[in-house]
């Protein structure tokens, strides 16, 4: 089908779609986080999780294919460490919020478990970020 818009309009359209995508992405992320923290059963939001993962993998694979790490930085050790620290903090905060919302008594043992899970998540993400980042550097 022949396009009836010119290159400028197409570019404008991409910008609009870009904003639409990120609104949908963060909206979906917010919904999933809310349902996780509020204690909904996983089956009640499995579709949202699948959709969110689809968006995440689309972005990661697309960036990887084009040799892009992220728009504001190139792949480096600093970036991998930063990504893993953010993951660590996100996991710990989410687990703490879940326990606070569900009125679980926060003991040193539970906080330790939260920190351990955060640490494991951080290490896994560091390894994945390192592998991805090194491939992106090679593509560059």
């Amino acid at each position: 089908m022949k396009k009836v818009i010119d290159e400028r309009q197409e570019k404008d359209m991409y910008v609009i779609e870009h904003y639409g995508f990120w609104i949908a992405f963060y909206g979906l992320l917010g919904i999933v986080l809310y349902k996780v923290i509020a204690g909904y059963s996983f089956l009640s939001f499995v579709l949202e999780v699948c959709l969110l993962l689809t968006l995440i993998f689309t972005i990661i694979i697309g960036y990887y294919k084009k040799g892009i790490w992220r728009p504001y930085a190139k792949a480096s050790q600093k970036e991998y460490i930063m990504t893993s620290i953010i993951t660590f903090m996100a996991i710990v905060i989410i687990y703490l919020l879940i326990q606070i919302v569900r009125k679980v008594k926060l003991t040193l043992y539970l906080i330790g478990i939260d920190l351990l899970l955060g640490l494991i998540g951080g290490i896994i993400v560091y390894i994945l970020a390192y592998i991805l980042g090194q491939h992106i550097i090679k593509k560059e």
Partner: protein, 64 residues
């Protein structure tokens, strides 16, 4: 930065923005935005404009 060379070349050919837009298959707003410096056209579009106005890329898009 405004592209006065494009505006002058178009006026020299006695073409309106709409006429030029129709010749190269873009919208009038696109021509207006290029002339006002609000949009950087692709090389492909620059060439189409130059061909329509019978001028070279240097004549219209090269800044001194």
């Amino acid at each position: 930065m405004k592209n006065l060379k494009l505006k002058a070349a178009r006026a020299k050919k006695d073409l309106s923005q709409k006429d030029l837009a129709l010749m190269i298959g873009v919208s009038r707003q696109t021509i207006n935005m290029i002339e006002n410096g609000d949009y950087n056209p692709t090389l492909q579009l620059c060439i189409a404009i130059c061909k329509a106005l019978e001028m070279t890329l240097n004549d219209i898009f090269w800044e001194e």
